[in-house]
Subunit: 342 residues, 2 copies
């Protein structure tokens, strides 16, 4: 049974099988326009890990963002297959890169490295371009600043092009105060600029949705969640609005004051907490259910459609096969979330 | 690009692309045997929502469990397509049941109802058998005990067979003390037995992995997570062991004492907290990464394979395309998680 066999097309929101992800086209358009005004063309390298959807990447490419950022080899493969391989960066370490080396004639693929072992895998895998990933304060990937130049020299000696450096200040995304944020991002990015001096190349890549208005040190910003946002990023003072909702159907109404809808943990990421519902409180979620305490319990009936705002967009989208683009009650398009898995 | 195109077969654990779910065949076998000894044949109605895998349902059917429990219409459709439609219960409310009514000649499908609206949907959708879902203390689905008989009468008047009642004591799964647990499950199940008297039919269905050793009131137990378990259920005194791990590859080693592997929130459910790692502490997870603090940092190198025990099995499995059955270092089988989505 193919995975899409039970998810038929729909012309209206009412006809969409739930749970499902609906995206307000007008809000999406406004978010993309706001980013284009701030970071036009190659100043933005959209991060497809956020949405894992070739159709949205196509749209961003048409808007002038020709370079893309990926977190997984699979995302890279999908973009290349869709003809979006002009300048793809795997902004993550991987030893499974020979599958990307095999695409070297079809696309310009750059792979991040932060160790001899990841560099060796790139060389052995037929990768032609690398970028040195530098740790800038987030306890995750990235080499020490003082090791970046050595890795770049080794890569060049092996015949690879070294395009520059990247460093992700992910620990600073949710700093709220603008002055504090600017100071901390500055301190972090000074490490990256220092590494850039040792490594060479044109690219200084970093940032994300949470620092896209702050990070003026990078030549390009890696952001993707801004396209549709979530309740966590909405706490920041950013020029974007929440475009994405989880659509659910009320399947049970209890006279004690709660209602139950058919969207649970399997359709929404919980690592940033519960989703938000504008008509009452979220009681709790289980695998396939959400129990809600409406402000006005008498207003709700079995069969009603509700919308929930997810707290974390990226891992919510990766649970779904489709994004339903809507314009009022009308379905404008259905995009496949086709770059999921690994 | 089909969803499975980038996930090739593998003969050994080392060859499995990560992140991935690996299942120890011997532990799975022992878990199934322990349950069979306790609840043989139709005393167990395995809940496929836990594993969403037709191949495992086939195995359970061969072991004598011919009735299945589903949480979504899609799971029902998949079981029917696989020839496992002898006695399927959709143990959940849905208005999207006409798709199951269309399968009425191919399978014996029973649908839970807890309201006039869900009963009307069942009647209109060509459903031939229902079971009345009763609220027994968990704030989720289920009608009031005193409304169950009325719904059953209405269903019979409309020509449907009423097979009995169900009620899920999900709020009691994690009660640790056996005496307290038995008392609370008893109080909850007395409500269900009372409803059963009003409704009629042969079935009193309820329970789950967390109460399968306690619930002696039901004619059949709805359990599924026991097959592979997780660190949450492992806290209980149950005759099952953890059979499932998330397999990941170390992609970065930081001299400050942490290591990073390629399994994050998109490959593991976080609603029950972090996974467990036997060689150190889990620092934090992000979308595609886990940062770990090993007890012995010098012992780890880029390229090493690690295993993580997930905290919540059901929503972890639903993030993956496959379960890799392993026997030591050898891959014994690859099962498709083919009943995902809705």
């Amino acid at each position: 049974m193919p995975e899409t066999s039970t998810d038929p097309s729909a012309d209206t929101i009412e006809a969409i099988r739930t749970p499902a992800l609906v995206v307000e086209s007008a809000v999406l358009d406004a978010n993309l326009a706001a980013m284009d005004a701030m970071l036009p063309g190659d100043r933005l390298r959209p991060h497809v890990k956020a949405f894992k959807t070739t159709s949205l990447a196509q749209r961003l490419s048409q808007d002038g963002h020709h370079g893309f950022c990926c977190a997984t080899p699979r995302e890279v493969e999908g973009l290349v297959a869709a003809g979006l391989g002009a300048d793809i960066l795997l902004a993550n370490e991987s030893l499974d890169v020979a599958r990307l080396g095999a695409l070297a004639d079809d696309a310009q693929i750059t792979v991040a490295v932060d160790s001899d072992t990841t560099l060796d895998a790139a060389i052995a895998g037929g990768i032609r371009r690398v970028l040195v990933d530098v740790e800038v304060g987030l306890p995750r990937c990235g080499c020490a600043v003082e090791d970046a130049g050595r890795l770049a020299d080794r890569a060049r000696t092996a015949g690879l092009e070294v395009r520059g450096v990247m460093g992700y200040e992910g620990h600073l995304m949710m700093v709220m105060d603008p002055t504090e944020k600017s100071e901390k991002v500055g301190s972090s990015m000074e490490l990256l600029v220092q590494a850039s001096g040792d490594v060479g190349g044109d690219i200084v890549s970093g940032g994300g949705t949470g620092t896209c208005t702050t990070n003026t040190w990078c030549t390009e910003i890696q952001a993707g969640s801004y396209t549709m946002l979530d309740t966590d990023y909405a706490k920041l003072d950013l020029p974007f609005e929440i475009a994405i909702n989880v659509l659910a159907t009320v399947i049970s109404v209890n006279r004690k004051g709660w209602i139950v809808a058919d969207a649970g943990i399997k359709s929404m990421a919980m690592d940033h907490g519960n989703p938000t519902w504008e008509h009452g409180d979220v009681f709790f979620l289980s695998d396939e259910h959400i129990t809600l305490a409406p402000t006005d319990p008498a207003a709700w009936s079995v069969g009603d459609t509700i919308r929930l705002q997810p707290a974390h967009i990226d891992p919510t989208i990766s649970k779904h096969q489709h994004l339903w683009l809507v314009d009022g009650e009308r379905v404008a398009d259905r995009w496949d979330v086709d770059l999921r898995h690994w």
